[in-house]
Structure formats: C-alpha cells, structure tokens
C-alpha cells in the first residue's frame, strides 16, 4: 500500500496498460514532452516515445476524431482533453461518431476509445474553464460516462476503460488531481458500472459523483454530530446509471439529497430525481432535494465563484431540509 495522488494513479494506469498492450496509445495537448497539464502522463514520453505518447496540436475535434478512427482498427487510444470546456469542440466526433458507430454499423465496428477530461470549477478559472457538462455526455446513447472520486477509482477505472470495448468518457476534476489515497501496490481493476455506498447510514441518502462525493461525506460528518445517520452514495457511473442501488438506498432511508456541481436544469440531479420518482416514489417521506450550482456562467471573483457552486454546508442544509428540520 502506498499513498498515491490522483494524478499519479492516472499515470500508473497509463504506464501499466501501455506496457501490457502495445495498441494502447495516449494523445492530447502537451501530454508528451511537457508531461501533461496535470502530470497524468509525466515521464511516459521518455519511456514510450512520440509514436505512443502523442503531443497534438490544439485541434480538439480532429485529434479526438483521429483517436476514434484509430480505435476502429484495433488501437486503444487514451485521449486527454485539457478541460471539459474544450471537449465542446470535440462533440461532433464524440457524439456523432464514437457514440454512434457501433450502432450505425449494426454492431460490426467498435470504438474502444477513452476520453479523459477534467470538469469543474477550481481556483478562479472563470467561465470558460469551469464547465461541468456531465449531463451532456450522460444523455448520449452509446457512451459510458464515469466519474472517479479518488485515486483508487481513477486508476482502476481507467484500466478497465482501456480494456472495455465501448467509448468511455472519464470526467475528472481540477481540484482532485492532488488528492491522495492509500492504494495497493498490486495491479487491480475497478468496474466501470455500479454505484458505491461509501458510507452506510439509515436516516438519509446523500448522492454525489466526482468531486461532490467529498461534499456529501463532509455533510455526513456534520449530520452525525446532530445524531443523524447519513448514507453516502457515489454514483461512479453516470451512464449507465445504477438505478438499483439508488432505489435500495432510498427505500432504506426514505429521504434523499443529490449533490451536483453543475447547474440544475436538465441535469444529473434532475435525472436522479426522475429515476427515484419512477422507481421508489412511495418510499419517500419527503421531497428529494437537489443541491447544485447557481444558474450562471461561473464568475471569476473568488467570493462569487464560491457562492456559485455547492459546498459542504449547502449539502448539509439540503439534508436538514429533506429531514424537515428547516
């Protein structure tokens, strides 16, 4: 076991998968000689060379498309898009090509491509570097969308994503790259599907994904001091969504808060609420609560930025509301 940072976990997964299979390549802006904006591929250029650690020009749509094309003929590309905002430029190749080629070809051609990209607000990056956009990928048939909350999942899910035969979008977070966790030294894999109960509880379910799982855990600590037992659920996979685990938890606790960093309209929380309505409406003792970002482009000013996105206190307050205490 060793304490490993999120970025180190991603780098280790790259390294192992590239050693294991020579069809695995990595592509992205500044990932090679410069070592990667988040150091997720640092040192690998020297080890694997420019043919396998490919520095791309700033052409998101087409280098993503090149990775997708390569995946159609047996390659296993891991594509890094520096910010999920820039992934908007690649939506044509992601949504119109990668997500649809298997289906359009009657299952005859697969696109086993992995696209890693950080989404989320962090240290005053302002509106064009702070998008979340999980909801957009989550609503696209033909994609898998996963949101590792820490190094163990970041490593184990990336390894699974490389080996899986579907296009996988991995949404990371600017504020998580230096987050540390104890990690086994032996190789392991984490499944791409399935929500995880990261804290068991009986009075209320707090649902999060990506960075906001940590907000839920913080809120659960506060609730515990009030004598309230909160269950924290990490969705892990937004597509497909593990509705079964959500249902079981809500049937146990009867109250639920969904924390999302994105704006609320047509969002992850809206989808979870719909799933709860459809699957376990009569198990609810109170209306489900969404804790979410303000419906604004993310501001630069630090105070405004903090106000725009949810924090532990917001999730805690949401829980008190769901519990009928405020």
């Amino acid at each position: 076991m060793a304490e490993t940072a999120y970025w180190e976990a991603i780098r280790r997964a790259h390294d192992e998968e590239m050693t294991n299979d020579k069809m695995v390549i990595a592509m992205g802006e500044d990932i090679g000689v410069a070592g990667g904006t988040y150091k997720a591929t640092s040192g690998l250029f020297d080890k694997y060379g420019p043919e396998r650690i490919i520095d791309t020009p700033i052409s998101e749509n087409s280098y993503t498309g090149i990775g997708i094309g390569a995946s159609m003929v047996g390659m296993r590309p891991i594509i890094e898009i520096m910010s999920i905002n820039f992934a908007l430029l690649a939506l044509d190749t992601i949504i119109n090509a990668a997500a649809k080629i298997r289906y359009m070809s009657g299952g005859r051609i697969a696109c086993p491509v992995v696209i890693r990209t950080p989404g989320g607000t962090a240290h005053q990056l302002a509106a064009q570097h702070s998008a979340r956009l999980a909801r957009m990928f989550m609503s696209t048939a033909g994609l898998r969308v996963v949101t590792p909350r820490g190094p163990v999942d970041a490593y184990g899910m990336l390894k699974s994503a490389v080996r899986c035969n579907d296009p996988v979008i991995i949404i990371e977070h600017e504020r998580m790259y230096n987050m540390k966790e104890e990690m086994p030294d032996e190789e392991f894999f984490r499944p791409l599907e399935g929500a995880e109960i990261v804290r068991h509880g009986t009075d209320i379910t707090l649902i999060g994904y990506n960075y906001n799982v940590h907000l839920c855990l913080g809120a659960a600590d506060k609730l515990a001091k009030d004598g309230i037992s909160a269950e924290v659920l990490d969705l892990r996979s937004l597509k497909p969504l593990d509705r079964e685990t959500i249902r079981r938890s809500v049937e146990k606790t009867h109250r639920v808060v969904i924390a999302e960093e994105d704006e609320a309209p047509v969002g992850v929380g809206a989808e979870i609420m719909a799933a709860i309505n459809e699957d376990c409406f009569f198990a609810l003792d109170a209306q489900p609560i969404r804790v979410h970002a303000a419906d604004v482009p993310v501001p630069y000013n630090a105070r405004l930025e903090k106000e725009a996105i949810p924090d532990v206190e917001d999730v805690y307050q949401g829980a008190l509301k769901a519990l009928g205490k405020i």
Binding site: G69, A97, R144
Partner: protein, 335 residues
Amino acid sequence: MKPEDQKRLLREMIFYRRFEDRCFEAYMERKVGGFLHLYSGQEAVATGVLEQAKTGHDYVITGYRDHVHALKSGAPAREVMAELYGKETGSSKGRGGSMHIFDPTANFMGGYALVGQPFPLAAGLALGAKHRGEGQIAICFLGDGANNQGTFHETMNMASVWNLPVLFVCENNEYAIGTHIDRSTAVRDQYKRVCGYNMEASQHDGMDIDTVMEAAAKAIDYVRGKSKPYFIEFMTYRFRGHSMSDAKSYRTKEEEAEWEKRDPIKVYSRRLKKAGIISDADIKAMEKEIDDEIENDIIKFAEESPEPKIEDLTRYVLDDNPDPRWIGPLVNEGE
C-alpha cells in the same frame, strides 16, 4: 491494362449506375426511406481510385454518398441494397441505411452524414495502420464542400506533421449541396488549399477513368511508399440532385448538358469501342445481364430478407457481451 480488365471496369461502372438507378426507383416506391444520395456522373473517381488500391486490405471511408465506394471496396451488392431496404441482412443490419454503409470485412469503414467528419477518422485509420505496420493505407473520399469544415484544416495539418499514410480524394463536383463553389469557397482549385500544410497534391479530370487510374496509382504509391499523406482532386459532376428532394434549381440545363457529354461511362465505352475491345452489342448484353442480376438477385434478396426484430432495438448500443472484469457491476459489501 488487359482488355478483359478494361471490359470489367466498364461493366463495373455500368453496374454502379444501374444499381443506383434501381435505388432511385425503390425510393420512389417508398421501399427505401431516409435520404438517398446518388453518385451518378462521378463513377470514374471511386472506380478508378479503388482499382489501384488494395481493396479489402486498405481502409476506405467516405461521406453519405457511399454506395459505390462500398461496392468497389468489396461490400456485397445484395447487402448494400438490403441496407437501403432497412433489412437485417443489410451491411449495417438495417441500423444505418443509405448514408451509413459499413463493411469491416472489406475494410470499408463507413459512410458518414456529418460533412467533413471522415477527415479525422481517416487519419485515425491511417495512424492505426501505421502503428500495426502491415502496409495498409487509408483512403478518404469527400466532396469539395467538406473542405470548408474545420476538420479539413485540422486533419491536413496533423496528417502532414505525423506522416500518416492517408490518401485524401477530393471529388470536386462544384456544388456543396446547392451552392456553387464560387459562391462558397475562396478558391475553386481545392488541391491548392493543402499547400499550407506541406502536403503533396494534384488535380485531374475525374470523368475519365484512365486519367483517374494513372493519377491514383502514383498517389497511392507515394502514400504507401513514403508513409505520407497526399491530396488528390478530381474534377467531376453529379448528374442527379444532391438528394431526392433536390430540384436542381441552382444550375442550368446547359451546364448539365455540357457535363453529360463527358459522362464517364460514355467516355470509356467510346474508347473501348474505338480500340475494338467491345461492341455496342456487347454493351447491350452487358446491360441486360446487369439488370437481370439487380432485379432477380439483388432486389429479390433485399425484398425477401427479414426486418430486424423489435426486441433487438437496443442491441449494438454498447458491447452486448462485455467482460465483467472491466464492467462489473460493483458489489457493495455490508448492504
């Protein structure tokens, strides 16, 4: 080229023309739905270029006007027609339709409806081919209209920087749907547009299959031999409208008549007749044989094939038999 090969090429072009004429009829009979884009007039380009490629080995990719590229790559005509009919026996099991023919057994990697999208996909096929080192190249056919997409510039740049073995074939028919090239594009000669990417390029007559083959052979040798991209432009003309709903109001009858004189099938059959390789009677017999094959074999197959099963609606969205080691689901302990 041997006379029997010349006769075969003429037969192929006539077959493609009549196959697509029959697609048109099937569309009018409402046997075929969606959009239907026909290739009539441009046959010498796909036929001539792919005659020089190692079809089945090299990767081929194109836009939505894809029937002939698929057929010449080696996709069975029965399956292409069945795809238009939306049948389970179709190239894409009825899930793609006319614009999305796929046949990986022929390394025909698809028809795509997003104009310009195949540029990066083609470069990716070439990157994969280069990585595997099995001598394959990628061939990307697109029209002049696609060159106004950002993917054109982005991909030309990367294909050149990374020395990818990809042949970009520009079929310049002068119209981007219904807008003439002079009204949409700063230069009419498309091959000039890649000089900024340090890429070899040339322009040729696309109505004469001999010219196409000669130019394509050189370009393909270059791409395969040097593992570098090449951009080849063929000046051609689409005899029919962009798709079935197109009344061709944007061009004159005189212009159409001028181009029809250069019909690639007429040009080539005249040449073969003059050389004494084929006679009018031979061509008549050829046409009859083709029509019989289309009607009694291809159309019959498409008509009689089963539709996809309703219960299969959600197949092929993701891998239908995923490995649980990677997919899970995750088991929550202590529940």
